[in-house]
């Protein structure tokens, strides 16, 4: 089968996955907003079913383009969503009482999925044609095609860097979910759907635990990125904006963990602080490459 044909199928599968995630999000919102118990189960099932076309879509793309889903913007978004979803489902499997955090994770994944699909070159082409009736020959059109792996994109450090980047996002999303539910539960403890959740102390501990896991993954991401840079360019740290912001996020996580340990920042204060940490992490990953000139931009965009 031709590459272009395979890529069309991949886009269709991504759309199917997107719709499952959309409906799953709606059910999770319904569960929390309208205290509808059944919606939780439905939302979770829809998310699980959505993983099937999503997995196939990523597999098809991998096969068609000849490299893993990490090079282009849409590939990065899609693989990040996939890993976050897997981590969420594993977390829910291990701690069923945390099912409700899908209320936070699914909308985040959905937003990333939409951004990913919109930035897909093939979809961009179709949009451009539809909007300009085929007159547009440059601009968004120029992005059509498949990016190929540059010579520096190889080696074990690169693989570790990419893998732990997406794992870090998954972990901090779960931490965000538990932190937000801590705040919600504390505010409205009488709400039925919050009663299913673990105790406030346990929620706080889960948030801490996943923040810790995110911190490890983030550390490994920074470290492996530095070692990869050393292997490729002869310098392990160059104060590139992404590197600097990754360090800032790491330091912020460090402050959070120290505050928890030494100054007994727990509960509400810790929950708000983790929200700030996650905002920085998201800015580092998805905002800085777009607003600052960085070595990551040329590959990510």
């Amino acid at each position: 089968m031709e590459t272009i044909q395979l890529l069309k199928y991949e886009v269709i599968l991504h759309w199917v996955a997107l719709f499952f995630y959309l409906f799953s999000t709606i059910f999770f919102i319904r569960h929390v907003t309208f205290k509808h118990e059944k919606s939780l189960k439905v939302g979770l099932r829809l998310a699980l079913i959505g993983m099937i076309p999503h997995t196939i879509a990523l597999g098809v793309r991998w096969y068609a383009v000849g490299h893993g889903p990490y090079l282009q913007q849409m590939e990065s978004f899609s693989s990040t969503v996939w890993v976050s979803m897997v981590m969420f489902l594993v977390c829910v499997y291990k701690v069923p009482r945390l099912k409700s955090i899908g209320f936070v994770i699914l909308p985040c994944c959905l937003a990333m999925m939409i951004l990913g699909i919109i930035s897909n070159p093939w979809v961009s082409d179709q949009l451009a044609q539809a909007l300009d009736h085929g007159r547009l020959e440059k601009g968004i059109y120029a992005r059509a095609g498949v990016a190929k792996v540059p010579p520096t994109f190889c080696g074990v450090w690169f693989v570790i860097h990419i893998t732990f980047t997406v794992i870090a996002v998954g972990a901090i999303l779960i931490s965000l979910g538990t932190a937000i539910f801590y705040l919600l539960k504390k505010k409205k403890s009488e709400n039925v759907c919050y009663k299913r959740l673990p105790s406030l102390e346990a929620l706080d501990a889960y948030s801490y635990k996943y923040a810790g896991f995110g911190f490890i993954s983030w550390t490994i991401m920074v470290v492996s990125g530095a070692l990869w840079a050393e292997q490729s360019w002869g310098r392990y740290w160059g104060w590139d904006p992404i590197e600097t912001w990754a360090l800032i996020t790491l330091l912020l996580f460090g402050i959070y963990l120290h505050l928890r340990r030494f100054f007994k920042w727990q509960g509400e204060k810790a929950a708000w602080f983790i929200v700030v940490c996650i905002a920085f992490a998201i800015a580092t990953m998805f905002v800085i490459p777009f607003v600052m000139t960085t070595v990551h931009s040329q590959y990510f965009l």
Binding site: V149, A205, G212, I248
Partner: protein, 491 residues
């Protein structure tokens, strides 16, 4: 002595630690928002200074335009390193001390002996109240037909199923300690040690690292002399960078994907050391070379070197190479504007590797050449390979040579093993801290007349709420198991 004590207290103070992390973070924020000298051209700063001299004066005075090499940032980093060193030292000391207070490693036998002694003497064991530090639970049981060994095994199995291992016996108080993730206690020390090593390695690099970039043409040799470097950056205490060997570029091979992206760059090099021994190497971006403590990297800068001979009446022919950077797209020519050394000629060229169809490879090469002398145009036209361009009645320019050039980066930093070990240690430490939190459960047996009371207690250095749930499950399992062998009372 008093000063040292004060310094130690200051460096280990929680407020100092938090303040230092905050200060480093804020410095990084400043460094990423204010344009830095290392990332912008000198013209940019000249324009900035001309546009707003007062603001620029303050920025320059506070070294905010060179944050990462400023004196205040280095002091901050030095303070952080001292704080880390103190923290590592005192944490290790505490951990080693705590190990020394441990009575001895418990063996499987001694665990059984202890239980056997109690249960043989008191065949009837009734549960009573018990309490423990951190967590509390009360379990007990009356012995029936079950053997002591069997019971001991069962208790141990329960702990084992939870991932706990018996490792300490404090005989005087008849207390057994079960531990989980003992390595986790060292997580913080290892993590901070890793960070300390990373900082030291960075400071070492700042002091001694040597880095240089050369543009090497195919069939040319890099002698390692000072004037051969295209650019060079030496650390504070590095006087000169002479790698001590020569590099000859045998062949450079760029390859491309079908969409014009670079697939790979490969340089075949011959490196000759000071003794005259030559060795062949294949260099690519994925595989740098290490030779005599210097690492050689394949740069992604490359292109064509076009050789022109200038024939001037009454003087010797001069052969000069002009280096043009490769373009990203094959339909775009390689462009460059350079002056011909020792003359007033300025050459403006557009080089097409293949004039018939767009290609990166020089199969039918030609150059669109414009030559000017003191503002006057001397030649304009297309010159094919081996053709000559007449500049005036006396001078002519011949296009005689095409070859590749490629950038090579040389780095000498003996602190790299430190960097690697620092990175590995900090990652390992972070893993131990958060993934393997140290948990302790102890089992204590006390006598009360004919009854024997078993108490269990536990503590964890992280995720206490989650440990509390785990502890409850453990206590329930223990209760259930002991209950099988006698009356079991729990209050």
């Amino acid at each position: 002595m008093l000063l040292m004590q004060k310094l130690k207290r200051f460096l280990l103070s929680r407020k100092t630690v938090i303040s230092l992390i905050c200060a480093v973070g804020i410095s990084c924020l400043i460094g990423s928002t204010i344009p830095q000298i290392t990332r912008k051209s000198p013209q940019f700063f000249e324009q900035w200074e001309a546009g707003s001299p007062r603001l620029y004066y303050v920025i320059d005075l506070l070294q905010l335009n060179q944050v990462y090499t400023s004196a205040w940032f280095l002091i901050l980093i030095a303070l952080a390193a001292l704080s880390l060193a103190c923290s590592v030292y005192y944490q290790s000391k505490t951990l080693i001390k705590s190990k020394a207070t441990a009575q001895r490693e418990i063996t499987e036998r001694s665990f059984k002996d202890f239980l056997a002694l109690r249960l043989v003497q008191r065949p009837e064991v009734r549960g009573r109240k018990s309490e423990a530090r951190g967590q509390k639970s009360e379990v007990g049981g009356r012995r029936s037909e079950v053997s002591v060994e069997e019971l001991a095994d069962k208790i141990k199995k329960i702990f084992k199923a939870g991932g706990y291992r018996p490792y300490l016996a404090i005989e005087e108080s008849r207390c057994f300690l079960f531990g989980k993730n003992r390595a986790g206690r060292w997580g913080s020390v290892i993590f901070h040690l890793g960070l300390l090593i990373c900082i030291l390695a960075a400071l070492y690099g700042l002091a001694f690292q040597k880095k240089g970039f050369v543009q090497l043409k195919q069939a040319d040799t890099f002698q390692g002399k000072n004037e051969d470097w295209q650019s060079k950056s030496l650390a504070v205490f590095a006087a000169n960078f002479d790698p001590g060997f020569q590099v000859y570029l045998n062949k450079f091979t760029p390859s491309y994907w079908e969409n014009d992206q670079i697939k790979n760059l490969e340089s075949s090099l011959t490196i000759t050391d000071s003794k005259g021994e030559a060795r062949e190497f294949l260099l690519s971006p994925a595989g740098p070379i290490r030779f005599q403590g210097t690492k050689v990297y394949q740069s992604t800068h490359y292109g064509y070197a076009l050789g022109f001979i200038l024939k001037k009446e009454g003087s010797k022919d001069v052969l000069t190479d002009f280096l043009l950077d490769a373009q990203r797209k094959k339909d775009k020519p390689l462009e460059g504007k350079m002056d011909f050394p020792t003359t007033d000629y300025i050459l403006d060229m557009k080089f097409y590797p293949n004039l018939i169809e767009p290609s990166f490879y020089a199969t039918l090469p030609g150059v669109d050449l414009t030559v000017t002398e003191k503002g006057e145009q001397r030649f304009k036209g297309r010159v094919l390979f081996s053709q000559r361009a007449r500049l005036n009645s006396k001078d002519s320019l011949s296009f005689v040579r095409i070859r590749y050039w490629t950038g090579l980066t040389f780095v000498k930093n003996c602190g790299m093993p430190l960097v690697y070990s620092g990175f590995v240690l900090s990652t390992l430490g972070a893993f131990l801290i958060f993934m393997l939190p140290y948990k302790q459960v102890y089992l204590k047996v006390t006598e009360d007349g004919n009854n024997v009371q078993i108490s269990i207690g536990g503590r964890s250095n992280r995720y206490k709420a989650l440990f509390s749930e785990e502890f409850k499950e453990l206590a329930e399992d223990l209760e259930k198991e002991l209950g099988k062998h006698g009356n079991n009372s729990v209050t």
